[in-house]
């Protein structure tokens, strides 16, 4: 990948807000390659049940499901800039819904899944309406609270959810009237819908809507001045993320002998998803999928062999990843092509290369770190895209809740 000379400021801003700009030549060269790789991997994934033993296939299905959850969280964290610690709630709601529909109404695919998506979306819009008014750490805490409340509800409403014993006895998914009895078939079912979910998120992220979300993530006051309503966009993003999480939950309930418990809704699952996003690289969408695979691998596949101390390995892996992988695993593909200067490099540089212009919440431009004000008080330190563009210093009238006691509300970082 070549590093093109920096385009002009205006072009760049436009490019960033539209989210699709690429130095023209490379784009066309890259896309077919990317497409080929995508196709190859898809074929590989689809071929798995033909060659891999049942237990491992079901593990891979779990990975796909968790990956879908992580990617939906990335839509929220990486692209919309809203770090959530309660995302698993929508996953769980989707799982319970699908399980209940399959158990008491019909197991004919894809009805339980549709029900899962609809109910989860509804829950997301209802809670998001309250939640997206906050920013940064307040949003984080509020989503945590909401997640915990929903988990508590699942535990208490035991008549419906089975309480702590969980919801079991979920009948197998029926495709065209035939229940899917073999692990491989279930796997293909999961793969199909997981890919569908990924594609939806990917398409959204490439669309103008996705660009608007990124814009809001990076510089909310500016987007508002351009006429966008951040609240509506964020709410829409939140709802979509919740709906896809619900899809993942529905798939979770479609596994063989699935068991849905309140723990699936809780803080631990949400935290693991967030870990997956961070390890994978927030904002890249595909990184979190890998991160999710890593988490499931360590916890469920290797964990039992480690005397139950899989979490220890997970913690260590995570710490290592945070330090050495600046953009998560996704960053690995780009670091080779970029020479990062030392942090706090004084030059207010135009983008050092074009990879860096991807709004990436985990790697703010270090040159901006000490001088500019993060426009939204978001926890992912938002990219400072200020190349001559007003970064929306936190002037009066901003509607971010100040994060510090006695904050005069003026410039600070």
């Amino acid at each position: 990948m070549s590093v093109d000379p920096a385009p002009s400021t205006v072009d760049e801003t436009a490019a960033r807000t539209s989210g699709t700009a690429t130095p023209t030549g490379s784009a066309r060269r890259r896309v077919p390659l990317a497409g080929l790789i995508a196709l190859a991997v898809l074929i590989l994934l689809a071929a798995v049940p033909l060659f891999v033993a049942p237990f491992q296939t079901s593990m891979l299905a779990r990975m796909l499901i968790f990956a879908l959850l992580a990617v939906s969280l990335d839509l929220l964290v990486g692209i919309t800039g809203l770090p959530s610690l309660g995302h698993a709630a929508y996953f769980g709601i989707g799982a319970y819904t699908a399980g209940l529909v399959a158990k008491y109404w019909t197991a004919a695919a894809p009805i339980p899944l549709i029900a899962a998506v609809v109910v989860a979306a509804f829950a997301a819009v209802a809670t998001g309406w309250l939640a997206v008014r906050s920013h940064g750490v307040f949003f984080l805490m509020l989503t945590l609270a909401i997640g915990e409340l929903i988990q508590q509800l699942a535990e208490s409403w035991s008549g419906v959810t089975g309480g702590d014993n969980g919801l079991s006895g979920i009948p197998a998914v029926e495709v065209a009237g035939e229940p899917l009895s073999l692990v491989g078939y279930v796997y293909w079912y999961v793969l199909f819908f997981a890919v569908l979910g990924f594609t939806v998120i990917w398409a959204v992220s490439r669309s103008p809507f996705g660009a608007a979300l990124r814009g809001i993530r990076d510089n909310e006051p500016r987007m508002r001045s351009l006429g966008y309503s951040p609240f509506r966009y964020k709410l829409a993003g939140f709802t979509l993320a919740g709906a896809i999480a619900g899809l993942a939950g529905g798939l979770f309930a479609s596994q063989q002998f699935a068991l849905v418990t309140p723990a699936d809704l809780g803080f631990t699952t949400s935290a693991l998803a967030l870990l997956a996003v961070a390890v994978g690289g927030a904002g890249s969408l595909w990184g979190p999928a890998i991160g999710a695979a890593v988490v499931v691998l360590i916890r469920d596949v290797y964990g039992p062999d480690l005397d139950g101390h899989g979490t220890l390995v997970l913690g260590i892996v995570f710490i290592v990843a945070v330090y050495s992988l600046r953009n998560g695993l996704a960053g690995l593909t780009t670091t080779r092509f970029r020479r990062r200067g030392p942090p706090a490099d004084a030059a207010p540089a135009p983008p050092r290369d074009n990879e860096a212009t991807t709004p990436d919440p985990t790697t703010p431009d270090p040159t901006q770190a000490t001088s500019a004000v993060p426009p939204t008080g978001g926890l992912p330190a938002n990219r400072q895209e200020g190349h001559g563009v007003d970064q929306g210093s936190k002037g009066p009238g901003t509607d971010d809740p100040p994060r510090h006691a006695d904050d005069p509300g003026e410039r600070r970082s």
Partner: protein
Amino acid sequence: MMQPVLSRRNALGVFGLAGLAATAGCGSSVGGGDNGGGSSSGGGGAIKVGLIVPQDGVYTPLGVDMKNAWDLYLDQHDGMLGGYEVETIVADEGEGPDTGVPAIQGLITRDNVDVLVGIVNSASALGSAEAIAAAKKVLVIANAGANAVTGDARNPYIWRASFNNAQAAFAMGEYLAGQQPEGGVYLMAPDYAAGQETFVAFKESYVGGGGTIAGEALTPFGTTQDFQPFLSAIPGSGAGATFVFYSGGEAVSFVQQYASLGLKDSVPLYGSGFLTEGSVLEAQGEAAVGIQTALHYSTEIENPANSEFVEAYQGAYDVLPTCFAVQTWDAALVLDLALAETEDLTGDSVSAALEGLGEISDSPRGPWSFDGQSPKHIEYLREVQEGDGGLINVVVEELGEYGQ
């Protein structure tokens, strides 16, 4: 500027596959077979037993006891059960069904065990019931007490050598109905299946026997460290006795706080035996003395099998056994007896053999037999007293035999 492209996720998705491949067997998940492959063939040979116990998290101490007892039994029987040589594969149940169910499924599909033993958490047992039935493997539960496991949700392959949640509570209810404490009884338990089932069973026998309930509280499960808000209601309710079900960490906190809030001397405390069983007794210390509980086991039961068992266990592990150890010992015992009668190791034969067992006479807990697929055994009334090496549960009297 590069759009994050879906492709590279897929490319590196191979990492996940590679990782799996490293652990995978090759094999097909769609051709012919369904879950699990063949088990080791039958008839006097070897048997693979999957022992599923908690090795991480709050239930670990129970897991340690259970594994100890299992190992001890095999040790004393040359590693054989019913004429088959035993290979034990241990899997970690973890804290809940989200780790327990995958672990059980792993034992079935990946390790191809013939028989499963263990399980502390009822949710894990209920959650894997279908998988076990589909795979036609016998599971002998060594703890999980939810009534439904051998009740509403039962299937022919799931047997239990432990107890069900209702028994101790029902027994205690009958006893207290006879005692007639003035002012009635105050009930407390954590708000989850085991606690709720305890309430139901206790009320059935106690109220049915003419007693009155002074009040009740279901405390948030797993998150309550401070019971004071709930305990402060007891003096005002006029209760003459308190009956509770708590185990593990909650039991420790509860008993200590019960004493420190002055209730120990004014309102006698009764409980299901788990309140004072095992390592929690040590942690409770002085605060536990005098508490009377009902359980199907105590180290002080006087019968030859128990004396031998306690001595052997102490000799091997330097601590007194607990009911969790006995439950696992009994699981090994019934398997030993059943496997001696079967022709092969299929789930159906083993299940039939278990059904054919009559009274289990050699058990440390006293004679018991299967009522349905769960034990019908004697419940003992025990009281915590100072013993030689520390606190013990002295048997006060036998409360009678209780089935499902």
